[in-house]
């Protein structure tokens, strides 16, 4: 279970893999078999292959085998080419990473090698701003104290600099010694935990002592981090190639299948079973008929002694005859429309970010429908909801408010004057701003000072202070250098009383080098600082200031200070050190000690920082929540910040409308208790019109996810809103997985490297191409420039895609079933022997041309205008609940195809009876009847008709005649002259008209009836926007909207009552799908499959339908 890494010893290097990174799926050799294998894992493909093979047997084939093989090979070639191209691109990017040059030590000297040749045990040298090529244990840096800074953004998405130190046993080695160092590192086998390394190192003589020295994660440089602010660093490679922490956590993204694809597959399966049943019934009936009747029909001339396989000839013939039930064209059609949906996203001007010049992009073209079925959105906070730019806006110093008029304290003349006059209050305030933090100043080459801060707030404070002429210039170890109004002030930082989410404040103890005075500088949340004020200070102004700023949505911090007596400090310092070295309950003890010092503060003032939300975030969240999507915020940030932002962007409401339930605690017991409490509250409060949300932090989540999964799942289902703070990338992914396991459609949106895993895990990953780089955007299925585009992506593109695919897929089955039912009906009149009524050409062209092209124009169909959808986002429920494609709507289409087949067949055989019953003619009449019905059905089912659609539908109908005229003029063709003959017959046209009338009459009547008397919400909005759309004046539109809003607000605060209950039930019965299924299946109908009724059961928010 452990690996022993011998430093710089080549005899052991081959035990582990080299540093070659490989993300490719195929090699040249295994491409074909592996790709075919992958493709044949899809049921449909297996089926088509089987059919194509069966068709090679001429005894049973009703049509030419080429009609199946051609499309099949074409489909396979297309998807194989796509795969190959993607894999080639991955290969290229791997190659770049692998061939990067790095320095390693070999035989005591430094050498340049390619990154892929690094072996475990090599000593790797890295210079400033270089990327770490593999996981290293740090053994030396340019810094005399053995520290270096790394940026871990690519690994965990945190953009601050982290400090790494060399293990104590390596301190003080110089370059020469580092070249010769020998030793052994004992470390665990590769894992993906980026926060933990339990290893130890032992150096061999002659190096100092040979004691075992423990290693932690702070002694490592992990792959993909960047070395910053440090001239060089060197380390021993411990994990390489795909075994690094990053490589292990990368994981292969699974190909995503939309809910719709799954449903289509299910329906295909059902049709397949139906087909088997038909084949068995007709096959045995055919065999019986053959033995009883056909043998008497002397002209058929059956042999008396038949080969053994004769018994399965008729069933197999029916199998081939019915194979068109499952349309081979559906995959091609779906791929085509899906890539168009993706193109529409790419093209969309309203999702074009002018600020950064980035268009929206759909990297995964296959899952647009899922966008319309999203039930949970898991969003990152920083950079996704916010702009990730914190700006110091206002402050209240010693009772004076600054920045109230202009909204920007930095431009407030009064404050500038106060600074210029060195007003003591202001100076103290600025000193705290500058020193009470963990910011690292970096001098860039141009001389400007950049700050690297763990928290954006500290960054904002230090930057603001420097704008007010108090500049933190340098922080060298414990010494801080400040320039103020041209003066240089030196401070020594004695102690840092760290921030914890319990204490909600941090303090530093500094020594003013000039005066020798010791100060305690504190900053923190108001509730943590104000109670510490010295007795007698008037704190009312500060409380007022905090209230005022909070109402403005600003993040407030209270700043305070106190001068310490030297004795007091020394005494405290001792106990602080003691507490810090305590082995048990250290954190608690430290907090206790800190408490002892942080009292009697002089409150200096309140600072207000704006973490600007991106434009349109609250509206977007409002609309999406209105449409029934649940929001979870997953952030690495601290709790208070997360809650602040959540309040700002409408994610949660403040008391009394909303209530936050906290799950926290350090120990397992505490966590469990608070989890149970929250769960109980959730269950009880479901009957109150209150917006509940729970807040959980990473620590508690860790415990919960590992042990109390079930309870948490229940909570997850009950809660529409959640805030998870301080979560790691893998926890984010775990949460996504948890929601997915409850069969929810999840969408993860984020912008940083730490969101990559959740983005890959979710059903839909959306990346924001933002400040934290493009990592998330690259890993995502969709990338957008701004969060606000999400509403358009979901409500417009997702919804349309869903609607269109729902129609297209069901229609594909309908048309295939129609032709198949006609064949089956005909077989009853042809001695159940499996004769095909239609010839090969017609059958192939039926699927490929006649019926495929018109329906492809469904990509232009819009049931409701974009504006209406935005005004009534609740309509998304139809997609979410899968109302337009489910077994019951499918049953409707199934019934319709049966009805139409009966109409076409019965009318044809009666009109073309007796002397007219010529095979070719009759088959063409039936075919034209079907095509004509198709055209009418598509026209009727389209919600909006552009000229393109009109042209495609009726032009296609014309094309049917042109194609058949053409075929009819080839003398060797079976149907020579047939079409000309038919078109000259009046009977033909009369029959066609009758078929259309009888076929469409009931469809139209039922559609109208439902449209008028049992309209779905979609119908109502359609009528509203179309009948008096132009008459929508601004006034009545607004009043309409307002009343909508009011009603929805009320209903939204009330509906959870029922819904939550109904949502949870399914879990009890094990599967939420079951309830979805039963409710959906409650309606069955033939003529109106595109719209579901059940409007009364509409307001469910989560699922249940």
């Amino acid at each position: 279970m452990k690996r022993f890494v011998y430093i710089n010893d080549e005899s052991y290097q081959n035990d582990y893999c080299d540093n070659r990174i490989s993300n490719t799926k195929y090699t040249l050799l295994n491409f074909l078999p592996k790709n075919l294998w992958e493709q044949f894992r899809r049921f449909m493909n297996q089926y088509f292959l089987l059919i194509a093979c069966l068709q090679l047997w001429s005894l049973i084939t009703p049509v030419n085998p080429a009609s199946t093989w051609g499309p099949l090979i074409f489909i396979f070639a297309v998807s194989a080419t796509k795969e190959a191209w993607d894999d080639y691109n991955r290969y290229i990017s791997d190659k770049q990473a692998n061939e990067k040059e790095v320095w390693i030590v070999k035989n005591g000297t430094r050498k340049h090698i390619q990154a892929q040749d690094i072996r475990v045990g090599n000593i790797v040298w890295i210079r400033e701003n270089e990327e770490v090529p593999c996981d290293l244990v740090l053994i030396g840096t340019s810094d005399s104290q053995g520290i270096c800074h790394v940026e871990t953004a690519a690994l965990d998405g945190e953009i601050d600099l982290k400090t790494r130190v060399i293990p104590s046993t390596c301190v003080g080695l110089d370059c020469e010694q580092l070249h010769k160092i020998k030793g052994v590192i004992e470390c665990p086998n590769p894992d993906k935990d980026i926060r933990r390394l339990d290893a130890n190192i032992r150096l061999f003589p002659p190096f100092i002592d040979n004691d075992i020295c423990p290693l932690t994660i702070s002694n490592t440089l992990l792959q993909s981090c960047y070395l910053r602010n440090t001239e060089w660093a060197c380390g021993v490679a411990v994990y390489t190639g795909n075994e690094t922490k990053l490589g292990m956590s990368r994981g292969v993204p699974e190909p995503k299948l939309t809910a719709m694809d799954a449903m289509i597959d299910k329906l295909t399966g059902a049709i397949f079973l139906f087909q088997i049943a038909v084949v068995l019934v007709l096959g045995s009936a055919g065999n019986v008929w053959k033995d009883t009747e056909a043998r008497k029909q002397w002209y058929v001339k059956y042999d008396d002694d038949e080969p053994w396989y004769q018994i399965c000839v008729i069933p197999l013939r029916f199998e081939l005859l019915c194979s068109i039930m499952i349309p081979i064209s559906i995959k091609v059609s779906l791929d085509f429309v899906k890539s168009l949906y993706a193109k529409f996203i790419d093209w969309d001007e309203e999702m074009y970010d002018h600020e950064t010049d980035t268009p929206a992009h759909a990297a995964n073209t296959a899952i647009s429908e899922d966008l319309g079925q999203v039930e949970y959105i898991l969003t990152d906070k920083t950079g996704t909801l916010t702009e990730n730019k914190m700006i110091f806006r206002r402050c209240c110093i010693g009772g004076t408010f600054y920045g109230n008029e202009s909204g920007d304290a930095l431009r407030d003349v009064e404050l500038l004057n106060a600074v210029a006059n060195s007003s003591p209050h202001v100076i103290k305030f600025l000193t705290v701003m500058t020193l009470c933090n963990t910011v690292i100043p970096i001098k860039s080459s141009s001389g400007a000072i950049l700050y690297k801060a763990q928290s954006q707030d500290e960054d904002a404070l230090v930057n603001a202070a420097s704008n007010l002429h108090m500049v933190l210039v340098n922080k060298n170890g414990n010494n801080a250098e400040i320039h103020f109004n041209g003066r240089v002030v030196q401070y020594e930082i004695l102690d840092i009383l760290e921030f914890t989410s319990d204490r909600k404040r941090m303090s530093v103890v500094v020594l003013d080098c000039e005066s020798g005075k010791i100060f305690l500088l504190s900053k923190g949340a108001d509730e943590a600082i104000i109670p510490c004020a010295y007795s007698g200070q008037r704190i009312k102004t500060f409380v007022d200031a905090v209230d005022k700023y909070a109402q403005l949505g600003l993040r407030t911090l209270c700043l305070g200070w106190r001068e310490l007596e030297t004795e007091e400090y020394l005494e405290w310092s001792r106990s602080f050190k003691e507490a810090n070295s305590a082995l048990v309950d250290r954190e608690w003890k430290v907090a206790e000690v800190c408490q002892k010092l942080e009292h009697s503060l002089e409150i200096l003032g309140v600072s207000a920082i704006e973490d600007r939300l991106q434009v349109g975030v609250p509206e977007t969240i409002e609309i999406l929540r209105q449409s029934g999507i649940n929001f979870w915020m997953l952030t690495g940030d601290k709790q208070s910040t997360a809650i602040q932002i959540a309040l700002l962007c409408n994610l949660i409401s403040s008391e009394p409308k909303g209530q936050l339930l906290y799950i926290n605690g350090r120990t397992e017991d505490e966590v469990v208790r608070s989890l149970e409490r929250v769960l109980l509250t959730m269950r009880i409060t479901t009957s109150e019109p209150k917006e509940l949300a729970f807040v959980v932090d990473g620590c508690a989540l860790e415990i919960i996810l590992s042990r109390y999964n079930e309870a948490f799942t229940e909570l997850a289902v009950l809660s529409k809103t959640a805030i998870c703070c301080r979560v790691t990338p893998s926890q984010k992914a775990q949460l996504v997985k948890l929601l997915k396991s409850c069969d929810y459609r999840t969408l993860a949106i984020g912008d940083g490297g730490n969101d990559v895993r959740m983005i890959q895990q979710a059903d839909i990953g959306v990346g924001i191409s933002g400040r934290e780089g493009l990592q998330a955007a690259r890993a995502a299925d969709y990338s957008i420039g701004k969060f606000r585009f999400l509403k358009r992506l979901i409500l417009v593109h997702g919804r349309y895609s869903y609607n269109r695919t729902a129609f297209l897929s069901q229609y594909s089955f309908y048309k295939s079933l129609l032709i198949c039912f006609i064949q089956i009906l005909f077989s009853f009149l042809s001695g159940i022997a499996g004769t095909s009524l239609f010839n090969s050409v017609s059958l192939m062209a039926y699927n490929v041309f006649y019926t495929s092209i018109p329906v492809l124009t469904t990509v232009l169909d819009k049931d409701l205008s974009e504006k209406t959808v935005m005004q009534n986002p609740e309509i998304l429920l139809y997609c979410q609940a899968g109302r337009l494609l489910n077994p019951s709507t499918f049953a409707g289409w199934f019934g319709r195809s049966l009805y139409h087949a009966l109409v076409v067949f019965l009318i044809t055989i009666h009109a073309y009876a007796n002397e007219k019953s010529e095979m070719e003619e009759l088959s063409m009449v039936a075919l034209s009847g079907s095509i004509c019905l198709q055209a009418f059905v598509v026209t009727l089912e389209m919600n909006s008709l552009t000229f393109v659609q009109f042209l495609a539908i009726w032009g296609n109908f014309m094309a049917f005649y042109i194609i058949n005229f053409f075929i009819s003029s080839i003398p060797s063709a079976g149907m020579y002259t047939i079409m000309f003959r038919l078109c000259r017959q009046l009977t033909y046209w009369v029959t066609l008209l009758l078929i259309s009338g009888v076929g469409m009459g009931p469809v139209l009547a039922l559609k109208y009836f439902r449209y008028t008397y049992k309209p779905s919400a979609i119908n109502i909005l359609q009528k509203a926007e179309r009948s008096f759309g132009p008459m929508y004046t601004l006034v009545n539109l607004e009043s309409q909207l307002r009343s909508d809003m009011e009603n929805t607000n009320i209903s939204f605060s009330t509906t959870p009552v029922k819904n939550k209950a109904s949502v949870y039930e399914p879990l009890l019965s094990d599967s939420p799908i079951s309830s979805r299924r039963t409710l959906a299946a409650s309606s069955f109908d033939i003529f109106q499959p595109a719209q579901s009724r059940n409007t009364s059961s509409y307001p469910r928010n989560i699922k249940a339908n």
């Binding site: 009747e293 008497k296 002397w298 058929v300 001339k301 059956y302 042999d303 193109k343 529409f344 093209w347 969309d348 309203e350 268009p359 009149l829 042809s830 001695g831 499996g834 004769t835 232009l860 819009k862 609740e874 009318i907 009666h910 009109a911 009876a913 019953s917 010529e918 095979m919 003619e921 009759l922 008709l945 552009t946 393109v948 079976g974 020579y976 002259t977 009046l986 008209l993 009338g997 009459g1001 139209l1004 009547a1005 008028t1012 008397y1013 309209p1015 109502i1020 909005l1021 009528k1023 509203a1024 179309r1026 009948s1027 008096f1028 009343s1043 929805t1048 009320i1050 209903s1051 009330t1054 509906t1055 509409y1098 307001p1099």
Partner: protein, 325 residues
């Protein structure tokens, strides 16, 4: 910046129909207005057709052999001649079409319908192409049969001749097949060979001296019927027949339909623009038209009884149930 076009922005101007009562009612009304007259005209046309059908398969079996029809038809020594008398019910204008009708005869059987080779029929050089002709490909000694296949082999071979009193009514057997078939499907230089030479004789024989393109009975027969009941043209009589005329038909009842219970009928019929006597289209049109009128009225009535305001937002379920739900 993506290029702007109405297509890429999904903003193509579109016609957005809604099903208003007015629109739907007028559609049904219109359909009714069209369908009923068409139906009436079709019915009248069908009524104009005079059709005389005579089933003769049972009647032509000698009285002593009614128990064993199969023996009768399979015994070549028994004369198959038979005489039938038809009475004309209405005046019949020439041309009068003579059809034979077979019932329960599956020309569309999978085994049967494919058992032919079009190449061989068209081209003398392709006489050896007998693929798909199973099981009538070659003679016992391996010579190709022209025309091969079950369809040709089972050629219908009953013959009819008609007299009115003493006047002989000639049946014109020219041009009973499709012109396109004679010219393109059946070769002018393809002559029957080895036909009906096998052990088991099927239907009729062909004169080996006449090319296939002139064997019109064969050409008609090989236009396979799609339904088990079908009529095929035997010939035309270019004489007007008067009501109550008595026609004597002398026929030779050669074709075996007895072992599968098929019926044979002789049909004399006139024709109109709609073809033969077929009420179906007429009735269907009248009924459908009537139903359309009914629906139009029903919807109108419903509209007045239960009017619905179009697109009222109050019908939206999330507006309909305000607080307290």
């Amino acid at each position: 910046m993506p290029k702007y076009s109405k297509f890429t922005q999904q903003e193509l101007p579109a016609c957005k129909p809604i099903l208003t009562p007015k629109w739907v009612v007028s559609v049904f009304f219109l359909v009714g207005i069209i369908f009923v007259p068409v139906g009436v005209v079709s019915l009248l046309a069908a009524r104009d057709v005079v059709e005389i059908v005579d089933r003769y398969d049972d009647a032509c079996v000698p009285a002593n052999m009614t128990d064993n029809k199969l023996a009768y038809i399979q015994n070549p020594n028994i004369s198959k001649d038979c005489t039938r008398t038809l009475t004309i019910t209405e005046d019949m204008k020439q041309p009068i079409f003579v059809y034979y009708q077979l019932d329960n005869f599956y020309q569309n059987h999978r085994r049967y319908v494919k058992s032919r080779n079009d190449g061989q029929l068209r081209d003398a050089a392709k006489a050896n192409q007998t693929s798909a002709c199973e099981p009538e490909k070659t003679t016992a000694d391996g010579k190709p049969i022209v025309p091969c296949g079950l369809i040709a082999w089972s050629l219908f071979n009953d013959t009819y001749s008609f007299t009115r009193g003493n006047e002989n009514l000639t049946v014109d057997k020219k041009d009973i097949s499709w012109k396109s078939d004679r010219e393109h499907k059946f070769g002018k230089n393809v002559y029957p060979s080895n036909f009906q030479n096998g052990l088991l004789k099927g239907g009729g024989t062909l004169d080996p001296a006449i090319p296939l393109s002139e064997q019109e009975d064969l050409i008609v027969w090989m236009r396979t019927a799609a339904l088990p009941t079908f009529r095929k043209l035997y010939g035309r009589i270019y004489v007007d027949l008067k009501k109550n005329d008595t026609i004597t038909v002398r026929l030779s009842n050669n074709y075996n339909t007895y072992n599968f219970g098929g019926k044979k009928k002789l049909v004399l019929s006139t024709a109109t623009w709609l073809g033969g006597k077929n009420d179906f289209l007429g009735f269907a049109y009248v009924i459908v038209g009537g139903l359309c009128f009914f629906l139009a009225f029903a919807f109108t009535l419903l509209y007045f009884i239960k009017p619905r305001k179009l697109g009222d937002h109050n019908y939206l379920s999330w507006n309909r149930h305000p607080a307290g739900r």
